[in-house]
């Protein structure tokens, strides 16, 4: 007899689907089938079953090979590294639970380090923008139940957040949107003809890097004021028309992604998008939401928020929190050679950071905590394999609209493998001993 676990939360993207069903073998040890998830999500669950997964910490040897060590040795190495560093950097935290994040923050505080999450390389610019101008937003259910104008700007959910459109935005039938996609108009702004753009009623093929101009042009068009014949490659008639589509809806939303947060103008793009949204509220109801990537990057920002008051790139090296992205952000700290130990967890900077930053990591005392072997683990001195959060251990996570959902454990981790929380708790305990605090 197989066994089905329902209401499982998918630990992949910020969409944080919570309707996954996982079919287990009769001994409850193997994942046989994953229902409702997108292809990438399903792959995450199956990946947990990989036979070749490391089950013991691995320490890099002088000749570049790895030697298995015990968790006790891994705890000792990590605690010594962090306790002895002048300014350690603890990065990642975006694909683990808020409980693990919280212990990580306490370790950072105790060791006088810096702590940062993946917002530093994706939606950090969004956070800077909302510190400038605020953000009128809502939960995804408001979109489902009310929205008749859907805008995807600089993002391609068809590939990056595969169930976003069907669960929340374009297709679902909600309380006031009983006709589903027929009751909605969809605008996509993207220089590429993406699979998302193909679904749009209006595709604005903005010139690469000209989002800022187009956003400001929409603000101008809202007021019915003068525009040049084309802006950012878009004829002005189309811009006036788009503004009219936005205004004439009952409830609208702009979803935006890395196409605007990390292209030319960065946070200024988002400033303009938020101001456009605010101004639309003088005509109708409008909201805006970032398409957050890692499933719990939002959660780490929230935990940092209530513990220190800042959502990412927090420097606690003076015992209190400072925040100055560009100065206290991970890549900048690495490139300036300001940190003397690097701890990464629940993300893969080795695959995503500029090569110079990765080289810096490889030169530092370093620990990478990850269930699998990744580019990051391969440049780190110590790799600590852990349970897969959201599959082998539960814990709280925050969806892209800040809704907290408690992830479920579906199967046991491989025998003897610690969870992030267990490993971090042991490291924290050891650091307290080393520092002589209770």
């Amino acid at each position: 007899m197989t066994k089905t676990v329902t209401d499982v939360i998918c630990p992949f993207c910020g969409t944080l689907c919570d309707d996954i069903e996982v079919v287990l073998s009769d001994d409850g040890k193997k994942i046989l089938e994953v229902v409702n998830a997108c292809a990438i999500g399903a792959q995450k669950f199956h990946h947990a079953m990989a036979e070749d997964r490391p089950k013991k910490p691995r320490m890099k040897q002088p000749d570049g090979t790895y030697k298995e060590v015990s968790y006790d040795e891994a705890v000792e190495y990590t605690a010594q590294m962090l306790a002895n560093a002048k300014k350690p950097l603890l990065y990642g935290w975006s694909s683990t639970s808020c409980e693990a994040d919280s212990i990580g923050n306490e370790i950072t505080e105790l060791c006088g380090g810096c702590v940062d999450n993946t917002a530093a390389v994706c939606h950090g610019t969004t956070l800077i923008a909302l510190q400038d101008v605020g953000v009128p937003s809502c939960t995804l259910g408001e979109v489902r139940n009310r929205a008749d104008r859907i805008i995807y700007w600089g993002c391609n959910p068809a590939h990056a957040h595969p169930r976003h459109m069907s669960r929340y935005s374009i297709f679902p039938r909600g309380f006031f949107t009983g006709k589903g996609s027929q009751s909605r108009k969809v605008i996509v702004v993207d220089p590429r003809v993406t699979d998302t753009a193909k679904l749009a009623d209006y595709h604005y093929q903005v010139e690469q890097g000209r989002d800022y101009e187009l956003l400001q042009a929409f603000r101008t068009a809202l007021k019915g004021e003068w525009l040049p014949d084309t802006v950012a490659g878009i004829p002005k008639e189309k811009i006036y028309e788009g503004a009219e589509v936005m205004k004439s809806g009952r409830f609208g939303i702009i979803f935006f992604g890395m196409g605007v947060t990390q292209s030319l103008s960065k946070n200024h793009n988002i400033d303009a998008a938020i101001c456009l949204t605010k101004e639309l509220n003088t005509y109708t109801k409008f909201t805006i939401m970032p398409m957050r990537g890692h499933y719990n990057v939002t959660g780490h920002g929230e935990v940092l928020g209530w513990q220190y008051g800042f959502p990412y790139s927090v420097d606690i090296s003076r015992g209190y929190a400072r925040y100055n992205p560009g100065d206290t952000s991970t890549i900048d700290l690495l490139l300036r050679g300001e940190v003397d130990a690097f701890f990464s967890i629940a993300t893969d900077p080795g695959a995503h950071f500029p090569i110079d930053a990765v080289r810096r990591i490889s030169e530092l005392p370093s620990v990478a905590v990850d269930p699998f072997i990744t580019p990051t683990t391969e440049v780190s001195k110590l790799h600590v394999p852990v349970a897969f959060v959201g599959i082998e251990v539960g814990g709280n996570a925050y969806r892209m609209d800040n809704v907290p959902i408690d992830c479920r454990k579906v199967i046991d981790p491989p025998e003897g493998v610690l969870t992030d929380e267990q490993f971090l708790e042991r490291v924290l305990k050891r650091i307290r001993e080393l520092k002589g605090v209770k």
Partner: protein, 569 residues
């Protein structure tokens, strides 16, 4: 556990009717006991000092999504006020929206040991609980918001009291909530379409029910269940000139109804931050105080309580589930605006605000808060709050005490207003010479809120049997004090005990205590219709599954404390 004997202090306790008499207070096993019951106590010499029960905060925004939005979008709120890690203390930061650790420490330093988070969006209950978990020392509870909830709107429209009550019981359990809160009833749902309900008879779009019906329906359901606290309301039309008539309309919903519960609560409606609801005039230019109209009504109606929401004249961060109000405010002051509408349930907005003593309206708002407290006849029914952080941060309570206890302090402030004459002409504060004494203060900050919350068996007094929550202030009530000496004395307790544990010793935090999360666990008859409605709404309209809605687990609530209510019949 260590026994304590706090000797020779001037004790203020409205429950024991102690008005500053010298008395000893004994603590054993976490509780207050008769002084004869401690054998080898540690003695705290409180001679020349003021002794009260731990303070009870009835309304503050200190944990959860909108508070954290405030923290995150206002890095400037941390300028010049961060405190590094210390022995026994985590790092701290923030002025109007302090970090959770700072929140716990700061309340303790003021002598508070219990605090209620005033508005919990049910879908975000986990977030609220995580923050409360990380707020040391204080026992805390949170009020889920009901006044714009689709289930409630439908049941009340159909006059289904039992169903409203069964749904409330279910949601209190699902969110581990403490009481029934209603914010701008109906108006926040209207805000889903960019609209509002400003008057109590404005129908809610689509749902076709009025704010007045919602308020009456929630009072009825609250008393049907016999919950510890009454309905806790933030009425319609907050913050607008001329809104005092709306407030009177809101309060009328309580007329003729009686409290039913086993917790010693005698009131059925708590109106929060009435300062924001006591405005006259019909535009900002002729804005004036209607504090007397509101407090007269409250004085006469013994089934109503209120907290004030004093304006502290600071730069602060406003935040409320009154979504349309925050939008309106951002249109007035042009500062940054956060909005967060929550499916089927509520909304929230956050906007920074500067209550400048140079601005006429701010001066009148300051006067209104003080008038309400000074004209209150029953301090057991009118409580001190700043609606933290809306009218100012709670850390200003000592300054408020200064203004309440010293007419001279008020006079100095009135003189300091840039438009002093206009403020005086638009309010009656200059003509009030009443000065509150510490007995009244103890009622407004301890005994009163505890009783109104249905928690007088645990908090609010020093009567044997209640929790060992005791604050000792270095303040001799028999001596003369300058206004600033009053403020200073109440800014930092000399000693604080929480459930019998010493938390503050000689002004220093020495322990994080063992905080509890208070929630209300109500048993009701099985109600198949409500269960079906819940299943249907989750299936069709919520974006989380029913199976993923309820908060449970020690990672959210390490130390729960449930008040049990049996409402089966």
């Amino acid at each position: 556990m260590t026994e304590y004997l706090i000797k020779n202090g001037f004790v203020f306790d409205p429950v024991l009717k102690l008005k500053g008499e010298k008395a000893d207070v004994a603590i054993r096993d976490g509780k207050i006991v008769e002084t004869t019951e401690v054998k080898k106590p540690k003695v705290i010499d409180a001679s020349g000092m003021t002794v009260m029960a731990g303070g009870v905060e009835i309304h503050a925004h200190i944990a959860g999504p909108k508070v954290n939005s405030g923290r995150i979008f206002r890095p400037e709120d941390k300028l010049f006020n961060t405190v590094p890690v210390k022995k026994n203390m985590r790092a701290q930061g923030g002025f109007s929206i302090p970090t959770t650790y700072k929140t716990g420490y700061a309340y303790a330093q003021l002598g508070y040991t219990t605090a209620m988070e005033a508005a919990m969006p049910p879908l975000f209950a986990r977030h609220v609980h995580e923050e409360m978990r990380d707020t040391p020392i204080l026992d805390e509870g949170a009020y889920p918001v009901f006044g714009n909830n689709w289930f409630v709107l439908e049941y009340i429209k159909n006059r289904e009291v039992e169903n409203t009550a069964a749904y409330i019981a279910w949601l209190l359990r699902a969110t581990k909530g403490y009481a029934v809160k209603s914010v701008n009833p109906g108006g926040t749902e209207a805000w889903g379409w960019g609209l509002n309900c400003l008057q109590v008879n404005d129908p809610v779009p689509y749902f076709d029910v009025t704010p007045d019906e919602i308020t009456r329906g929630l009072i009825e359901a609250n008393e049907y269940l016999g919950l510890p606290h009454s309905l806790h309301i933030h009425g319609n039309n907050l913050g607008n000139p001329g809104n005092y008539t709306t407030t009177l309309d809101t309060l009328k919903a309580a007329s003729g109804q009686k409290a039913k519960n086993k917790f010693g609560r005698e009131t059925i409606l708590h109106h929060t931050h009435v300062q924001f609801h006591s405005y006259g005039g019909d535009k900002w230019a002729n804005f004036e105080s209607k504090a007397r109209e509101i407090i007269d009504y409250i004085n006469k109606h013994k089934n109503i309580t209120a907290d004030v929401g004093f304006v502290t004249l600071d730069e602060t961060t406003t935040m409320t589930a009154d979504g349309p109000f925050e939008y309106h405010l951002s249109q007035l002051n042009h500062l940054k605006w956060v909005n967060a509408d929550v499916e089927l349930e509520t909304a929230a907005g956050v906007v920074p605000y500067v209550y400048s003593p140079d601005i006429f309206v701010c001066g009148v708002q300051w006067a209104i808060g003080l008038e309400i407290a000074l004209l209150a006849k029953d301090p057991m029914r009118v409580f001190i709050s700043t609606d933290h952080p809306n009218a100012g941060p709670f850390t200003r309570y000592p300054r408020i005490l200064k203004w309440l206890m010293s007419a001279k302090a008020r006079e100095e402030q009135i003189k300091a207003f840039k438009q002093s004459d206009k403020v005086v002409n638009s309010s009656e504060i200059a003509g009030i010479d009443r000065e509150l004494d510490l007995y009244e203060v103890a009622a407004m900050t301890r005994a009163g809120p505890a009783k109104c919350l249905g928690l007088s068996h645990l908090y609010g007094s020093l009567k044997p049997g209640v929790d060992g929550d005791v604050a000792v202030y270095d303040f001799n009530p028999e001596k003369e004090h300058t206004p600033d000496q009053i403020e200073k004395a109440f800014s930092s307790v000399k000693y604080l005990f929480k459930r019998g544990e010493k938390i503050i010793d000689n002004h220093e935090i020495v322990s994080h205590g063992n905080k509890r999360t208070l929630w209300v666990d109500v048993k009701v008859n099985e109600n198949l219709q409500v269960m079906r409605d819940i299943q249907e709404k989750f299936m069709k309209y919520y974006t989380v599954t029913l199976g993923n809605y309820e908060v449970h687990g020690r990672h959210f609530i390490p130390n729960p404390f449930a008040l049990e209510v049996d409402a089966t019949r």
